[in-house]
Point group: C2
Chain length 352, copies 2
């Protein structure tokens, strides 16, 4: 069996046992609180983990692109939520083809999106559930008021090939209570209008962990919980020891005592820090932080006695693991130093 010492750098290592433990822990929390889990596959982009998530009790999966959903459907995933406004003939045709082979649901936040869906799914065979996306504070997509949500829900209800599927939001970080109040108000307005709202879907790993039975939310779409990263640790979701994804890198230069350079730059670790002050840290070496990135160089600043030597191989915990998996064509599942399996990141780079 190959070991991590046989791998070239940079490479993504996934501690399989940690990922499995993270899946089990989240599912147990969801089960205990009567919540449905619908994991977002954007984090791993692998049917391998999607199937494990469903086997553990997830009601289905979430994809963000039709191309991701197609990959997952090909691999046998049967229930897919695509919380995105799908527009344009080419994408609507692919969406209809998906609808004919898996249990599909989507979202919309405008009449323009709904008109396209209604026209394409008029002869869809069975109705497509469409959830209304709500802007509960994130300031991205979504209707702005409960009245708008009711108006769109009515439009969905009237369309022959569609059926109103509930509400969807991605809440602003740390503002779950605000989202909760927003959604409760919208549900009330819907019920007052005679529209049942049985599914309320929310996102985000930190919020999922804070959720409880008392929530108006019925379903969570956490992504990062499976691998975790420095951002999640900063948010209190687990510790560095729970992080399953690391980037194996080599020290290629050590120009000054406090500065070492890795062969892993923004093309391996990504420039996306989610607001953290550094780009990553070296596993087991608290004084070694990645403080700068260019495309093929990662600058490590050494402090508190941390030391490195040229040629040494290290493991970097990145800030945001989801964007890292999009940069690599493959990941290696490991158990200690053993490489259990090497998987192509088949849903990577799906643009449409």
């Amino acid at each position: 069996m190959p070991t991590v010492h046989d791998l070239d750098t940079p490479s993504i290592l996934i501690d399989a046992a940690r990922a499995e433990a993270n899946i089990a822990r989240a599912q147990a929390h969801a089960d205990k609180n009567g919540l449905k889990l619908r994991p977002h596959i954007k984090t791993h982009k692998l049917p391998y983990w999607a199937k494990k998530q469903v086997a553990a009790g997830a009601v289905g999966i979430t994809c963000q692109k039709i191309g991701e959903a197609e990959v997952m459907a090909d691999a046998g995933l049967a229930d897919i939520f695509l919380p995105y406004n799908i527009l344009g003939r080419a994408k609507l045709e692919r969406l209809l083809a998906l609808h004919r082979r898996v249990t599909l649901s989507v979202t919309a936040d405008s009449t323009a999106t709904l008109e396209g869906l209604a026209a394409s799914f008029a002869d869809g065979g069975h109705p497509l559930p469409v959830l209304v996306e709500c802007d509960t504070g994130m300031g991205r997509c979504g209707v702005q008021t409960a009245d708008e949500a009711v108006a769109l829900a009515r439009q969905i209800d009237r369309a022959g090939g569609l059926t109103f599927g509930g509400l969807m939001t991605y809440p602003a970080a740390g503002r779950a209570a605000e989202a909760e109040a927003w959604l409760a108000g919208a549900r009330q307005a819907l019920v007052a209008s005679g529209l049942a709202c049985e599914r309320i879907s929310s996102g985000g790993t930190p919020d999922m962990w804070r959720s409880s039975e008392a929530s108006v939310v019925t379903e969570y779409r956490p992504g990062t919980y499976i691998y975790l990263d420095r951002y999640q640790v900063a948010k209190g979701v687990g510790t560095l020891d729970d992080c399953a994804l690391t980037v194996l890198a080599t020290v290629v230069s050590h120009p000054t005592p406090a500065r070492a350079i890795l062969d892993s730059g923004s093309k391996a670790l990504s420039s996306d820090t989610l607001g953290l002050p550094e780009f990553g840290e070296l596993l087991g070496m608290p004084g070694a932080r990645v403080t700068g990135l260019s495309e093929e160089h990662g600058t490590v600043t050494l402090a508190n006695g941390a030391s490195l030597r040229i040629g040494e191989r290290v493991r970097v915990v990145p800030d945001h693991c989801c964007v890292v998996t999009n940069l690599f064509d493959q990941v290696h599942l490991i158990d200690g130093d053993k490489v259990l399996e090497t998987l192509p990141v088949v849903a990577r780079g799906r643009m449409g």
Copy 2:
């Protein structure tokens, strides 16, 4: 012939005539000033453009990864510079194989790197030129003093399979004069030690444009000049009308009058802004800036009368084009609305 209207979004469009003009303009500047151009292929990652750059007069190309160099060698590029510390048996074996089929040169900034090169290339057939990387202010890789440069040059000179190839730097942005003085001093120290220093290689599109015959630099490795981007425009290298690369995107949501959402997020436009305050701007729409990104959403803030409608297709000029081409599996060469050719980004995602 297909048109851009036939393409799904997000897609990369390359205005072929603009890229050709940018190649010609830079080569003319280099020729006029007696400088050699050795374009960095990291910007386009395509043999198609590498060949055009060489045909226009470039002395060869620059790659940052062995995997990129292998792709380019396979495509017939004959002279490749790899300005990187190559370490580890697997990479050194691939480097030796490359050396046997193309005119190769590399860099080193430590005895550790040199020891690996010397051991691997002892029986290389003909010596491998190794340039000493110098930190002239960038604070990344590179020796810190002229004395260190001389010591490494001597070590290269003594190694049987290697030959001292000169000096290499990537200068800090806006500090070309400092780099110039550093390199002139090191060259003088080398010559005083009896080591000829005929090749001095520097990088960066803005510096290349500011260079002149009086410079100590003999060779530039500009990358971005072929496509240009918002960062280069901010640095005074051309205008938005010279930018050859845009990302074709669709407006998928318009939740408030001042906010529209594109189907192009950090997975298409990258989080790397090179310090600019926004992530991109819409071509021909000065009041429409990309002010926020999540993985699959680009938030456009509309001002000064700019307006968009849901379903509309727009073209985004990104901040940093090199990282954008690494995110897409293909690019489309265009002439106006016509799609001339669709090219796979064959050197994309080369990690090792």
